[in-house]
């Protein structure tokens, strides 16, 4: 706490009251963010982005990336909830930081914004690889697009591209549509399509390719078209979020854009809105879900049984809330499903929401005994992953729970009793005849 308030005093006094909200499960939005720069002038050139963060209540701690006093944790406790690395050319981080400690930082459930740029260092590439993002191998390559470049590009090599292929997700980019294209000048990266943790937020147009603009192309470019990702995000399995951008300029203060071939002249590029909304997502102001425990009981009862019987009717419910940045709001969706699972789902039902955060359904236990699980696996683009399960055994009928008399068996019952009666009569007649 001591250290915390010192760093707070250094930056901005008016943020003090907000300190009482620290990062936690109940309050998942990050508060303390370390910003690593390779040049302190970035502070002013990217002031809109930083000021926006500050105004939203973040406590930014600017440090040079090679500052020898850098430390992410002290006495095993992390000092920061988020990390912004705007130091594309840094070869070595100062203090105790390296790519492994940053990976550990992410693995502890904390968030990261990483920006590379042209001629990004191996360190930055290494961190990106750890997160499943592969930058173009050629360190001098840039994304070039001869059709959707910005007309404000003065160099004429069409490396300042105006990208508008954004991921369609209100959770990540906010409800307000980003009208203007996003300006991007930087290095391309690609994602492994089998990796389901990373996805593109901003992709290049089909006509883009990645090459060194100052030299002639000797062979076809390795990265072309919409396979090129400009900005990607990763949500790790522990719901830590990472934004990886191929351009540092993306976050800078810049305005006015006109896309080549387009008549629309925008006063402002979409960058500001894009990075603001993206930072809201990455710092868990949006799309963070939490679920209460799974509740189940037989129809007509309220207590959870230790074991079900086959063909029992049961009711199942789970509460899910979404973090709005300030408080937990009931989550509303019609696609939350529960599985009644034993090696494969025997029952798969969509839960109905009651707008107060309670998701509920009822079903009949299948005619199979074994150790089942109630499973809620909720993976939706942009939202944190919910993976809940609760084990419950299902037993067969007890010996006295079967039907006592089966109507179809009446002939057999009849046969039994007539045989017994017949035997009695026969014995009687045989013994006492004559």
């Amino acid at each position: 706490m001591m250290n915390l308030s010192r760093s707070v005093a250094l930056i901005s006094l008016f943020l003090l009251p907000l300190l009482s909200f620290s990062f936690s499960v109940d309050n998942p939005t990050d508060r303390r963010v370390l910003v690593l720069l390779d040049d302190l002038s970035l502070k002013s050139s990217h002031s809109i982005f930083f000021n926006n963060l500050k105004s939203r209540g973040f406590d930014l701690d600017f440090k040079l990336a090679d500052d020898s006093k850098l430390a992410l944790q002290r006495y095993g406790q992390y000092l920061f909830d988020g990390l912004i690395i705007f130091a594309p050319s840094t070869e070595r981080l100062g203090g105790s930081l390296d790519s492994k400690s940053i990976a550990d930082f992410v693995d502890s459930g904390r968030d990261l914004i990483l920006s590379a740029d042209t001629s990004a260092s191996d360190l930055i590439r290494g961190i990106a690889t750890e997160c499943g993002v592969d930058f173009d191998e050629d360190s001098s390559a840039m994304v070039i697009d001869h059709t959707s470049f910005s007309v404000s590009d003065v160099d004429g090599d069409h490396t300042l591209i105006a990208a508008d292929d954004l991921v369609k997700s209100d959770v990540i980019l906010g409800k307000a549509k980003i009208e203007a294209p996003v300006l991007f000048r930087g290095v391309a990266h690609s994602l492994n399509p089998t990796n389901n943790l990373v996805f593109k937020v901003l992709s290049a147009s089909p006509s883009a390719y990645s090459a060194n603009p100052s030299s002639k192309l000797s062979s076809p470019p390795q990265l072309t078209g919409s396979a090129i990702s400009l900005v990607s995000v990763m949500q790790a399995r522990n719901n830590a979020r990472v934004v990886i951008s191929g351009s540092l300029q993306l976050f800078s203060d810049r305005s006015g854009v006109q896309k080549a071939g387009s008549q629309n002249q925008y006063e402002k590029s979409g960058n500001e809105q894009f990075v603001t909304e993206l930072s809201k997502w990455v710092f868990h102001e949006r799309g963070h879900l939490k679920a209460g425990s799974l509740v189940h009981h037989r129809v007509g009862e309220t207590d959870e049984p230790a074991i079900y019987r086959i063909k029992d009717d049961l009711e199942f419910s789970v509460e899910i809330y979404e973090w709005s940045g300030k408080s937990w709001e009931p989550y509303v969706a019609n696609d939350v499903q529960v599985q009644f699972y034993m090696m494969s789902p025997y029952v798969l039902k969509t839960l109905s929401a009651d707008k107060k955060g309670l998701f509920h359904t009822s079903f009949k236990v299948p005619d199979v005994y074994g150790v089942f699980q109630f499973k809620v696996e909720y993976e939706k683009l942009g939202y944190t992953t919910l993976s809940l399960s609760k084990q419950i055994p299902v037993r067969p009928y007890r010996h006295n729970e079967y039907e006592r008399f089966i109507p179809t068996a009446y002939p057999y019952y009849g046969a039994c009793f007539t045989t017994m009666a017949g035997f009695f009569v026969f014995s009687f007649v045989y013994l006492y005849h004559k």
Partner: protein, 778 residues
Amino acid sequence: MAALESPQPAATTTAMRHAFGNVLSVLILVLIGVLAFSIRLFSVIKYESVIHEFDPYFNYRVTQFLSKNGIYEFWNWFDDRTWYPLGRVIGGTVYPGLTLTAGTIWWVLNSLNIPLSVETVCVFTAPVFSAFASWATYLLTKEVKGSGAGLAAAVLLAMVPSYISRSVAGSYDNEAVAIFALIFTFYLYIKTLNTGSLFYATLNALAYFYMVCSWGGYTFIINLIPMHVLLCIVTGRYSPRLYIAYAPLVVLGTLLAALVPVVGFNAVLTSEHFASFLVFIIIHVVALVYYIKGILTPKMFKVAVTLVVSIGMVVCFIVVAILVALVASSPTGGWSGRSLSLLDPTYASKYIPIIASVSEHQPPTWPSYFMDINVLAFLVPAGIIACFSPLSDSSSFVVLYIVMSVYFSGVMVRLMLVLAPAACIMSGIALSQAFDVFTGSIKYQLGGSSNSTDNAEDTNNAPKDDASAGKTDKGEEIVKERSSKKGKKKEREPADKPSVKSKAKKKALVLPLETSIVALLLLIMLGAFYVIHCVWAAAEAYSAPSIVLTSQSRDGLHVFDDFRESYAWLSHNTDVDDKVASWWDYGYQTTAMANRTVIVDNNTWNNTHIATVGTAMSSPEKAAWEIFNSLDVKYVLVVFGGLIGYPSDDINKFLWMVRIGGGVFPHIKEADYLRDGQYRIDSEATPTMLNCLMYKLSYYRFVETDGKGYDRVRRTEIGKKHFKLTHFEEVFTSHHWMVRIYKLKPARNRIRGRAKKLKSKTTSSGWSSKSEKKNPWV
């Protein structure tokens, strides 16, 4: 003999001798019981009062449940801690006889304010029941050849090594009570056959019910008795007694057997039981024939015979046709795998690796006969000969019993246990007959001139040996038995007739005195060898509980208590609902001792599930991790004997895992694990072998122990010494490395990109050649 000779003057002497003989017999039987009980206590004395091996742990756990929750809960017990996630309905899949017996004993003792723990009761159930089994043997043999043979057989059974191996204190398995039930059922059958009493027939059905409750081996009874009945009918020995002995057993026995949940409808549906029904029909046909023969004139009878025979043939034909159709229509041909492997010994090893993988399902080797029944093997032929002079219904039964059990024991080591009582009975008969002949000759030679043979016989025989001690009243018993066969009820009147005859015969069969004495001494020596062998076997060979191992070395006794150490670790350091995967051998122990959920256990009812675990063990790490993760496994337990030279470890069982796994999942091929048909783990081993999970889990960090990685079981240096585990982490290794427990690592939080890996792995040229092939994400 002399007493029978002169019934009128020596009536009181005879009564005295009878009383004396009976008291002596009772005393001897009590001693036999004590012997049977105490010879099985070596395991408790040498080790401790602990449940042995694998299956007994399950029975112990079930008994605990029974004593805690009562019989109805036991009946309906759905166990969610084994066979995860399938679970197992214990009440419906277990033979409840043993459990109910021990539970009842515990309950009775507790209500008598004798506070024994359930474990103590379980440990001592088997020795107590082996005493009962000896007494049942006495009764059975007495019915066949008189009480002398009975006592001899009882003594032999009390210490036959084959039976000791399954009934030492702590060996709390079904066989412990089932052998008693088996012998007792046979006794009641013979008793019914000899008396024709419906009372004994009913008792017989009840004893059969107890046998069905106790052990799957009851099918041996329900096939052997019909065979004997058929034998009697074919040899023209049909009698109403035979009918009384058989028909109620089939009807009542089948009804009662169907009451046992694990048998249920199998009692009428599977082919193991069909023989009894077929013979049931035949005996009725035969009974009808005899009845008609009685009421018709011989002439009319001939006509009737042709009629009945033709009708009978037709009926039999139809029944056989139906049976064949039924058997053919069921998928396994109506025979369960274990039974099929009895008929065709190669069946199991050809088609069902899971049955063949159990060592006790393998055919025995010749030395094991000598080990398990010792001198009885030589006495049995003599006993068979004795049974043929004269052949009665009951002696033909024991002959049939020995023949069948010899065959079955040749198929499966485990069924040596069924052979043991038969061998004891036969040897008992042989011994007692031999003693009879020799002592008779001695008596004749010594007392040829004098008339005081009574005294000579008494003084000569009584102190000799346990077996010969029973001789006093045995001689006359045999005569009585033989006579009872010829003229059943009217025993008194014709009794002196055959005895005179036998006396005449005796005189003709007399041997020289010296020969008799030498032969007697040789027989006693033989018996002494048997006793020495049995005590040795009980003390050294069959008392090890197998969860605690000891080894004697130069610097003293070493105790390997690794199993309990690891199970205790599991129960103290893991969550109650964690799942532990291991090969199925250790399933029962894990649930009983560590109280953790297991994936497969020794009740091998689901081959696919076992094959899944086998496949995981034979797969590379990543694939294994995925299999285990899909089964919610948290911990993997392997047994490794390489450090201390414990041969029955998982590496030695590994080929069975491969076979069983490959039987269901064909991508596992046995040939991939063998180098030129040889199973090896040294540097010549195949890469598949060196990369499979079982190898890695067994030998992880093994090289750190001696710097070379020398495996003392396989007697070689291991092939791959330095490697890391990527998906598993070692959490526990027991003191002697016998048990190693690994934990599954959680799924990786992030998925790495490819670039760096490929770059570091391949040279730049390799890199470009890769990218030429249009790599979509680089």
